[in-house]
């Protein structure tokens, strides 16, 4: 297990290197630069700005400089948020996204798994149709529709909760974004859990368990749920990475100071260092999440072992 983990971590290095290199050059190929905007700058001021950020150097040189700084853990200064370094922005935004995303995933699991299981056990019943119908709606209605409706209904019309803002992470400010963020995940997880539960319940070892005279509750809880959760777990890896690096839409609509907004603002502003910083961060997170998921596999399914 340990050597497997180490091997995976070592393999991540070239992967990340390729991701960083491609992103670096793709970003530079994109038309428009960090200082193009409504306020067109005189050439000398644009030149000053470019010099300040070493953008006047040849591209390979800039790349080497960036990689060199990265090795020292320095993501560089943000071009657009000059009072913060990229590292500071990520360190400020990530805990926020982590909190919102973590709670959303937790809520999605707490609601999605039981719903999926219930639907699978009572297949083709009213419960099943109700759950699956609702889940389909949850998947079909995108975040950018749900979030403003939540803000309008619970924030403006009923005035139960703030319509936006972070307020240092006070829980009333958390409710709407977390729920809005989890709805799609609840739907996905419920559907996935149902499908895999149905498949598991039809498998031989379940038949054996039933033949041994175990009660249905015992069959489900002791034998079916763990293997049925495998697809959900493999889905969770990238989903968690995605959701805790921020949901752009949710953060934008509820004014949450998470890392997702930096993706969008950074890309729109051609804030090269900020985009690179978030890409690197996201890349590392995906690699780690996938590794954790693979390790979890062996805990859930005794047939999967990572000895070599």
């Amino acid at each position: 297990m340990l050597s497997y983990t180490l091997k995976r971590l070592l393999m991540a290095i070239p992967t990340l290197l390729i991701v960083i290199t491609i992103s670096f050059f793709l970003m530079r190929v994109a038309p428009g630069g960090p200082f193009d905007g409504e306020r067109q700058l005189p050439p000398e001021i644009e030149a000053n700005l470019k010099a300040a950020y070493h953008l006047d150097e040849p591209l390979p040189m800039q790349y080497l400089r960036y990689m060199g700084n990265l090795l020292e853990g320095d993501f560089g200064p943000s071009f657009k948020y000059k009072d913060f370094s990229v590292t500071e922005l990520i360190m400020q935004g990530f805990p926020v996204s982590l909190e919102i995303g973590g709670l959303a995933i937790l809520l999605a699991l707490l609601v999605g798994l039981p719903l999926g299981i219930a639907a699978a056990i009572r297949r083709n019943s009213t419960v099943d149709y109700l759950v699956m119908g609702t889940a389909l709606t949850g998947i079909a209605v995108p975040n950018f529709v749900i979030a403003p409706i939540f803000a309008l209904v619970f924030g403006v019309l009923l005035a139960w909760l703030p319509a936006g803002g972070w307020n240092g992470g006070a829980w009333p400010n958390l409710v709407l974004p977390v729920v809005a963020l989890s709805i799609q995940q609840i739907a996905y997880i419920a559907r996935m859990m149902r499908a895999s539960m149905i498949e598991t319940l039809g498998s031989h070892f379940i038949r054996t368990a039933r033949a041994k005279g175990l009660s249905e509750t015992e069959v489900i809880w002791r034998h079916a749920i763990r293997p049925a959760m495998l697809p959900v777990v493999s889905y969770l890896g990238p989903a968690i990475a995605g959701i805790i690096t921020g949901s752009v839409v949710i953060e934008q609509i509820f004014g949450i100071p998470g890392i997702g907004r930096y993706f969008v603002q950074g890309a729109l502003n051609r804030d090269y260092t900020l985009v690179m910083g978030t890409v690197v961060f996201y890349g590392v997170l995906i690699v780690l999440m996938n590794l954790i998921v693979d390790l979890l596999y062996s805990a859930l399914d005794p047939q999967i072992r990572y000895d070599d």
Binding site: A30, G32, P34, D36, I45, Y81, W160, G255, R270
Partner: protein, 531 residues
């Protein structure tokens, strides 16, 4: 087992829901929550990004030599008085004795000297440096010239500042109210360098001083007790919330989380007027919306007849009333009405009845060699917003009867303006919001080689008039020259003006002290709650 778990789940949800019924803690009654349209790039006047919302924040935190009253008039700030030399080139400012930084240190002339040194230091790449090129040595320093003359900003003594200009600049004192002309605390900058704006170092000399800044969440500022007019500042503090999404800021305003929202979408105007009439503030602004017409060789719009025809066929009233919902007013000139010491000019031919204009436009295009066999083909670039799109579509439709085939190209802001700057367009959307209240701030755009002269308009006559206006010290004579220059550009159909923009603000009805003004600058020191 399943059931008991479900019960437990429900049990932990109930307090969550009950708690939800109580609102989040209300803001302190005398704290103002302003929804600004984005995150400031910096609190350092030499490193700001050039966005309108930086005015809101830095305008409250710092006070320049000149400042603004609630109506947007220029009034003395840190300078209690000043004299101008007879040749109009030397200004001597006398600083207030009671002007202090928030740490109690006095604001001294050296603070302004350092601020201007940093503004023109190439290493800072200050985006507003060129606004202050009238100051002696400013341009050469910004360009990094080795033989740059000494900077024309000198501390005569602690409370006397002398600024020498390259040339007389009648609007110079209005420039000094710009946030880029804010002083910097020399004693703090010397100690911490560029890190002086960090929350544990920063001191300010405005009505408020920042206490915390969570990027993309909020900047909190508290009343500065050392401010010279602190007694007259009613608010305890101001919190600035950057909200890029305009419908999100509207909802937060409706829910009571924001007291002021600095912009709303024009298409919400009617709804707001019906539902929140006391909160809607619409006021003419020193801002225009126009289309640059590319006059470089190889573009059909290089032909003046084509530019005239396109201008004649635009129904500006339809765009203003129908597309923009009557929020803006149609523009027939480049400099918006309302600029001080200036009378709005009109593009020739726009007053005639529509049929005549269309007939004339047809003739002009025919003369220029376009017709059914050889239709005029144009590309029109706009930056992606709903309103821009609708206007672009409307223009294409208005030009269609002339046989013009318009290809619409939209792109996000960074790409759009890069393409415009590269001259890669025939017709391109642009706009300008005044930095200061003077016609030259608009007309300067059309000078040969000006960075924002997207159309590449080159007129020796126009340039000569602008130069003459720059040299002129008499306000009336200067006004004549500037107006003449604009008439020249309008007669050349150098661009296609569309509308004069308005400021769109939402202001909670329980606030007093807010006055709509053409600069759309509102210092929180004038705002209070209740009557």
């Amino acid at each position: 087992m399943f059931d008991s778990r479900t019960r437990r789940l429900t049990a932990c949800c109930i307090p969550l829901l009950l708690g939800a019924l109580s609102l989040s803690a209300p803001l302190s009654a005398a704290t103002l929550a302003i929804g600004i349209q984005g995150e400031p790039a910096s609190l350092d006047s030499a490193r700001i990004g050039g966005t309108t919302w930086e005015n809101d924040v830095l305008g409250d935190l710092f006070e320049g030599l000149v400042t603004l009253d609630p109506a947007g008039h220029y009034v003395p700030g840190v300078a209690r008085s000043w004299e101008v030399s007879d040749d109009g080139k030397t200004y001597t400012f006398h600083l207030r004795d009671d002007a202090d930084w928030s740490d109690g240190q006095p604001v001294v002339a050296a603070d302004f000297v350092l601020a201007f040194q940093r503004l023109f230091d190439p290493a800072n790449g200050a985006v507003y440096a060129n606004l202050f090129y009238p100051i002696g040595g400013a341009e050469a320093r910004t360009k990094g010239a080795a033989d740059a003359p000494p900077l024309g900003v000198v501390a005569v003594d602690a409370k006397t500042l002398e600024i020498t200009l390259e040339r007389p600049t009648p609007y110079f004192t209005t420039l000094l109210a710009h946030i880029a002309a804010s002083p910097v605390p020399a004693h703090v900058v010397k100690r911490y360098g560029d890190a002086w704006t960090q929350m544990d170092h920063i001191v300010t000399n405005g009505a408020f001083t920042p206490t915390s800044w969570v990027s993309h969440d909020h900047i909190a500022a508290r009343k500065n007790p050392e401010f010279h007019a602190a007694d007259e500042v009613a608010l305890d503090g101001v919190d600035y919330y950057p909200v890029e999404d305009r419908s999100a800021s509207l909802q937060r305003f409706r829910a009571g989380g924001l007291d002021i929202v600095r912009d709303f979408s024009p298409d919400r105007y009617q709804w707001l007027q019906d539902n929140l009439p006391d909160a809607v503030h619409l006021a003419p602004q020193l801002a225009n919306y126009y289309f640059a017409l590319n006059q470089r060789d190889g573009h059909p719009t290089a032909d003046k007849r084509v530019r005239e025809a396109l201008n004649l066929a635009i129904r500006r009233d339809v765009i203003a009333d129908k597309i923009m919902g009557g929020v803006v007013s149609p523009a027939s000139g480049f400099v918006p009405g309302g600029v001080s010491h200036y009378d709005a000019q009109r593009m020739p031919g726009l007053d005639r009845p529509r049929d005549e204009r269309i007939a004339q436009a047809r003739r002009l295009l025919e003369d220029a060699g376009y017709g059914p066999d050889h239709p005029l083909e144009l590309n029109l670039r706009y930056s992606t917003t709903e309103a821009n799109k609708r206007i672009a579509v409307a223009l294409a439709a208005m030009w269609q009867p002339l046989g013009v085939k318009t290809q619409l190209i939209n792109a996000e802001g960074a790409v759009h303006y890069a393409e415009l700057a590269n001259g890669n367009f025939d017709v391109g959307r642009a706009s300008w919001v005044a930095d200061f209240d003077d016609a030259s701030n608009f007309l300067g755009i059309l000078q040969s080689g000006a960075p924002k002269n997207y159309g590449g308009y080159r007129s020796p006559a126009f340039d000569a008039l602008m130069r003459a206006a720059n040299q002129e010290t008499d306000a009336d004579a200067r006004q004549q020259l500037l107006e003449q220059a604009e008439r020249q550009a309008l007669g050349d159909y150098a661009m296609a003006p569309i509308y004069i923009d308005v400021s769109r603000n939402l202001v909670a009805p329980d606030l007093s002290g807010w006055q709509d003004n053409a600069l759309n600058r509102h210092l929180s020191r004038w705002i209070s709650r209740g009557d």
